[in-house]
């Protein structure tokens, strides 16, 4: 069976817009949530978000790219450049026909769609909008596949390219898709990951009426409180991460730094509700067990769980139940954390950012904490690594995600057997 090695990691996230700044943010327990500055949030129920201070020029994008790319595409291109550089790949030398792009996004180009909508509709006054006011790259915002097109163009990747859009599991699923392409021999290198930039009026307005987002507007720094008793919803975020996946043997042969490998990946539907989660966590537990079975991983082998931990009442309860169901008593012994406590919930992007956190946790032997954890919730009674990072050898890390539409995903990254003895 062909295996996937993770050989490069790139991140754009709130609190610091590259891999090292991201790692510093999430291991220091700093929160990057704040009152929204991108637009005036007056009149919205939730007025807070984790915004990234992203400068596309500094990230290496040129003027034309910045002009034609929506913010979420810019994030992904920046993260991909960092990841490919990190992997030490020379794009002139690799077999670009065998290089694939698999990226996730839940809401795609909504920022440009909304920006242009406001103009063509003259502030929401016209159903029959005026097409003459549309900007030249507006169609690229309508179709989320643009994300894959632009990253493929950036690296001249002629292999399969796809955008996976499974709501808030898009990030895990984007990487899982790439892993399957390597397994099946459809590609040798995959630029995989996800991106989302949903801090815009229409995206914020989506979650207001269903009360999914936090309204701790007077205390944004402490608003994202996964697994804490006083959590009141998620805090919107934005971000992107790209992992370079390579067929394991070829990565080893070229002497690449191998962070870890994809030991297992699974996704499931909950067949229950578009936004609701079954309290017993059965389907997420199935995804976890499938991912474990693929890698021959036992509950005792898992050293860290990176939770979806969105900070909604139902999610954190659901996820806690899923861990107990899949891992039994071991669920109580494994350190768990939700980095959304610090960098918010970037919808379809966050799953990839969380996989990046897992790869770095394995590489560096640190478990990032759950910030803002103060008061235990009797229904969430596991070890959520409160507030402070923990030094710990991590050989296998599990990450899970839940998405609107009923999607439940799980991925396990692990230090390859042949590299374990030289581990930290």
């Amino acid at each position: 069976m062909r295996r996937s090695a993770v050989t490069g990691v790139g991140v754009v996230a709130p609190g610091g817009v590259n891999r090292e700044a991201f790692w510093d943010t999430i291991t220091s327990g700093r929160t990057a949530t704040r009152k929204i500055t991108f637009f005036d949030p007056e009149g919205f129920r939730s007025q807070i978000a984790a915004e990234a201070d992203f400068d596309p020029h500094a990230a290496g994008l040129d003027d034309q790219e910045i002009n034609r790319m929506d913010r979420y595409v810019q994030f992904a291109v920046a993260a991909a450049m960092e990841a490919v550089t990190d992997a030490g790949l020379d794009v002139e030398q690799i077999d670009r026909d065998r290089t694939a792009v698999t990226l996730g996004s839940a809401v795609g180009g909504t920022m440009v769609l909304e920006r242009d909508y406001v103009v063509v509709s003259n502030h929401g006054q016209k159903w029959l909008v005026d097409h003459e006011y549309a900007s030249p790259f507006l169609y690229q915002a309508l179709v989320p596949s643009t994300l894959a097109s632009e990253v493929a163009l950036k690296f001249g990747a002629h292999g399969p390219s796809v955008v996976v859009s499974t709501g808030c599991t898009s990030g895990i699923d984007g990487i899982g898709y790439g892993h399957q392409l390597i397994q099946d021999g459809e590609a040798d290198i995959v630029i995989s990951g996800a991106s989302e930039t949903g801090i815009s009026p229409i995206s914020m307005a989506c979650f207001d009426p269903i009360k999914a987002t936090s309204r701790r507007n007077d205390d944004p720094a402490h608003a994202s409180r996964p697994f804490d008793r006083d959590r009141d919803g998620f805090v919107m975020g934005e971000g992107s991460a790209v992992l370079v996946l390579e067929e394991f043997e070829s990565a080893q042969a070229r002497g690449a730094h191998i962070y870890c490998e994809v030991a297992g990946y699974a996704n499931r539907g909950n067949a229950y509700h578009m936004t609701g989660l079954r309290p017993d966590g059965a389907e997420m537990a199935e995804a976890i067990l499938d991912a474990m079975a693929q890698g021959g991983i036992e509950p005792e082998d898992i050293d860290y769980i990176n939770a979806h931990g969105s900070g909604t009442k139902q999610n954190d309860r659901h996820e806690t139940a899923a861990y107990k169901r899949a891992l039994g008593d071991q669920a109580y012994k494994i350190p768990i954390s939700s980095i959304k406590s610090m960098i918010g919930h970037s919808l379809g992007g966050i799953g990839a950012v969380e996989m990046a956190a897992c790869a770095l946790a394995i590489d560096r032997g640190v478990v990032p904490p759950t910030a803002n954890w103060e008061n235990p919730d009797p229904e969430c009674d596991l070890d959520y690594t409160p507030n402070e990072a923990k030094r710990k050898q991590v050989d296998a890390a599990l990450s899970t995600g839940s998405g609107f539409g009923g999607f439940q995903s799980a991925m396990i990254l692990a230090r390859p057997q042949e590299l374990q003895e030289v581990g930290i």
Binding site: A106, P144, T146, C206, G269, A293, E298, G405
Partner: protein, 418 residues
């Protein structure tokens, strides 16, 4: 020891994927047989847009599904929660399940999946809500915006309605996504899923969605349907968008046999996908990457170029892209293979387009007849292929379907009659 999961997603290359059900909602026919009858006869469903008044727009034609009433298929509660795009997919799913004579009730939920393609999601629903937001204020945005607009809405709703808990997915590659969805269904069949609701639909005929499409410069601006979408023709001048699509049931061959499925239309045998990695606005006449997708599809299918009995073309209707496709077909398959593009009767359906072409391919094999490419009077200079412009009887065992998506996506799928 860990508890064993219901299914383990380790690929087993011995497993085979077959098509056992089809449900069609198309501008020239609702229901598979009605659509197929119209398609064989060359009847077009393209006309002036009626969903809104198109007078102010330079492109005024579309393939609209006339006479579709969501209430014939879906309960009212669901209608208000979902976009027109999802309505059509739910209706087509019902038809496809009936065609496959499969009732998901009581079956192992973890072995059933939903994997669809989407181009632009619930854009009409989205325009109404964004109008509420900017015209009236945030509190006027409805509670269903969050679940109706995003690209995963259709897969999610189908999976919930039919109790499917296997690996579910949504793929986006603009016009090529439908083939990717079918092949991704096969990837999951290899990984021990038995039954997948796949394919896709699209509803791109709203004022804002049309405005977005106009910015590509690829829509035909002609007002007479016969002058508008003319792929491969010397008067090719762009394409006409259309709505609808097809839901396709992809099933493991063993499962279909064991349950006595009423028909196996075709095996999903081979697939290739590439990307041009070219500037989004630059139209290229270079078919190298599409040709490579076709070659990969043949290799994966384990067949020679001479075994392809017909090609359902992507048929962009844009001169450079037509030239690229003709070059790819002729270089890999030669100039003798019949090539047709029945989408001239419905327009380009984006996420729904390739699944509808797959439906055409398998029914062409079943009935031994190739549907025509309408509006193709005189091929553009240099396009030397055997274009099918009238319905043609043909013994077909293997058909290749091409699909391309804006943004450099190329894909090719090999289907073989059992």
């Amino acid at each position: 020891m860990a508890t064993a999961p219901e299914i383990t997603s380790i690929p087993n290359p011995e497993r085979r994927a077959v098509i056992t059900g089809i449900g069609v909602i198309a501008p020239n026919g609702i229901g598979t047989e009605k659509w197929w009858e119209a398609t064989r006869a060359g009847q077009s469903g393209i006309g002036r847009i009626t969903r809104f008044d198109p007078s102010q727009y330079p492109a005024q034609l579309a393939g609209e599904v006339e006479g579709f009433d969501a209430a014939d298929y879906i309960e009212q509660r669901m209608i208000v929660q979902t976009d027109h795009w999802t309505h059509m997919a739910l209706a087509a799913t019902q038809m496809a399940l009936e065609d496959a004579q499969f009732d998901p009730e009581g079956k192992d939920p973890y072995r059933m999946s939903v994997i669809t393609a989407s181009g632009s999601g619930g854009n009409e629903f989205g325009q109404k809500e964004i109008e509420n937001l900017w015209g009236k204020g945030p509190i006027f945005v409805g509670a269903y915006q969050s679940i109706a607009w995003f690209y995963a809405a259709t897969t999610g709703q189908i999976a919930i309605k039919y109790g499917m808990k296997g690996p579910c997915g949504v793929v986006c590659q603009e016009g090529a996504g439908g083939l990717e969805a079918l092949w991704h269904s096969r990837r999951n069949i290899l990984r021990n899923v038995d039954f997948v609701i796949s394919g896709g639909t699209e509803a791109p005929i709203g004022p804002y969605a049309l405005t977005c499409q106009l910015t590509t410069g690829r829509l035909s601006l002609e007002s007479d349907p016969e002058d508008a979408y003319r792929p491969f023709d010397s008067r090719a001048n762009g394409y006409v968008p259309g709505e609808g699509g097809a839901i396709i049931i992809v099933e493991s061959a063993d499962h279909a046999e064991a349950r006595g499925a009423p028909q196996v239309y075709a095996e999903v045998l081979g697939y290739g996908a590439t990307n041009d990695a070219d500037h989004p606005k630059r139209s290229t006449a270079d078919g190298t990457q599409l040709g490579r997708a076709i070659t990969l599809a043949l290799e994966r299918a384990g067949i020679g170029a001479d075994e392809v009995d017909a090609v359902i073309a992507d048929a962009a209707g844009v001169p450079d892209a037509d030239a690229a496709e003709a070059q790819a077909i002729s270089e890999v398959l030669g100039n003798g293979v019949p090539v047709t593009a029945p989408k001239t009767m419905v327009g380009r359906l984006y996420g729904g387009g390739a699944p509808l072409d797959v439906a055409a391919a398998v029914l062409a094999m079943r009935d031994g007849v190739l549907p025509p490419t309408t509006n193709l009077d005189s091929p553009a200079e240099g396009l030397d292929l055997d274009f099918v412009t009238e319905p043609r009887e043909a013994q077909l065992r293997t058909v290749l379907v091409n699909a391309r998506g804006f943004g450099g996506f190329n894909s090719a799928l090999v289907l073989r009659r059992p």
